[in-house]
């Protein structure tokens, strides 16, 4: 059974259809890269999976439970439980500026999961080590570089032990020389078999790390497949044109 099943997803703003009949599955341990031109609906699609956007029709099923079925949403408590299986990393990090790095990591486990302090602190220490920012535990986000902020944001999401991690253009707000350190952490997560959906402009990451690439344009999935296949032998003209532009 697929971990995420999306079928016939529809969303429109007035007359503008931003998502038209989006259907795809994600299996456990998949790393899916979603690529496509700006305005193609890929961020909206990703955000609808974790209920940051409401869709107008279709179904989203996360590990066997319907977040929304044929356009009808589950009860708020159910939605909260289902979306808690996922973590999200944003383009602009969205760290809490008034909390230290350590507090950013520990706030949600403490308030939401109500775990024991010792367990929370053990995990935050371990994750800060993993992302190489142990020395920055008591710093405020304002003191960090963009790459460091995004690594903290990834650690903050991991603190909730999600089954699935969603990334919304995680390197787009970074200076080019800082994207490497973030992609490195994501690569490591992929190697540890974290299930990930990554909306990205990083073709290198899509090629190297993803085991599936979805190409979206104009609110539709044009084609999807293994990266080697999609990058070397795209079936559709629109995919070819986009890849030609992006790989230049």
């Amino acid at each position: 059974m697929a971990l995420i099943e999306v079928s016939n997803l529809k969303k429109s703003y007035g007359k503008l259809d931003v998502l038209k009949q989006i259907t795809f599955d994600v299996n456990k341990n998949d790393v899916v890269a979603v690529i496509g031109p700006s305005g193609s609906g890929k961020s909206t699609m990703l955000r609808s999976l974790i209920h940051l956007e409401e869709i107008d029709g279709g179904s989203i099923c996360i590990s066997g439970e319907y977040l929304v079925r044929d356009g009808i949403y589950s009860k708020p408590q159910e939605i909260k439980r289902i979306t808690s299986k996922m973590g999200m990393v944003f383009q602009h990090f969205n760290l809490f500026p008034h909390l230290t790095v350590k507090e950013n990591l520990e706030l949600a486990p403490r308030l939401v999961k109500k775990e024991l302090n010792a367990e929370i602190e053990r995990r935050s220490k371990e994750l800060l080590e993993k992302i190489g920012l142990s020395d920055w535990a008591t710093a405020y986000p304002g003191k960090l570089s963009g790459g460091q902020k995004q690594r903290v944001a990834i650690a903050r999401a991991l603190m909730m032990n999600p089954e699935i991690l969603l990334f919304d253009e995680p390197t787009s707000a970074l200076d080019p020389e800082l994207t490497g350190e973030v992609l490195q952490v994501m690569k490591q997560l992929a190697e540890e078999h974290m299930t990930m959906i990554v909306v990205t402009h990083e073709m290198g990451f899509a090629k190297e790390v993803a085991n599936r690439v979805i190409f979206m344009d104009n609110g539709e999935i044009i084609e999807s497949g293994h990266p080697t296949e999609l990058f070397t032998n795209p079936k559709f003209e629109r995919t070819k044109a986009f890849l030609k532009r992006s790989l230049k």
């Binding site: 940051l52 999200m88 944003f90 969205n94 008034h98 949600a108 308030l111 003191k143 909730m160």
Partner: protein, 219 residues
Amino acid sequence: MSINYFISILKPMLEGAQMTVLLFLIAIVLSIPLGFVLTLAVRSSFKPVSWFAQIYIYVMRGTPLLLQLLFICFGLPMLPVIGDYLVLDRFVAACLGFTLNYAAYFAEIFRGGLMAIDKGQYEAAQVLGLNKWQTMTRIILPQMFRIALPAVANESVTLVKDTALLYAVAVPELLHYAQTVVNRDFTIVPFFIAGIIYLILTLLLTVLFKWLEQRFKFD
């Protein structure tokens, strides 16, 4: 001028200053929470509440504080039927007027603070599973108060000086005693003393808020 004379006029003025400080403290302690409640009311999705709050803020900011004070002290008792029950002690009436007026200004300051918070903060809190109350108390309000701090400081300094309006409703405060001595002894010294006392009070406030701003700097 003898030192004894100086002390003899300083003493009542310091007593007047106590009244100034007392009014300031009561007004600030009551108007900040009330202002915050107004901010929430303006943002309420229940429209009549939002409209009421907006009209309230418009009226309070759109008319002179002096007019409001005169209205509460001398206008309310003149209302038919209920007027007799609305004769307030002058100082109580002044506290009420200052609180109601300043709450409107603080409401606008806090509204600005809320608007300055990126919607990504709400989204991050949501995907981490925080509920509305936790998001508000742990994420949004601490940032809102930090953003609002310089404007709150500014408004507080204005409040110290506005306490001089007590003069108009005949509550004896700092300026009242200064003016009395000026008239009695035909000297301008009390005006200087009053000025210096106001400066000391506003200096204390400025230092306090600078400290608060440093304390909550977050970088």
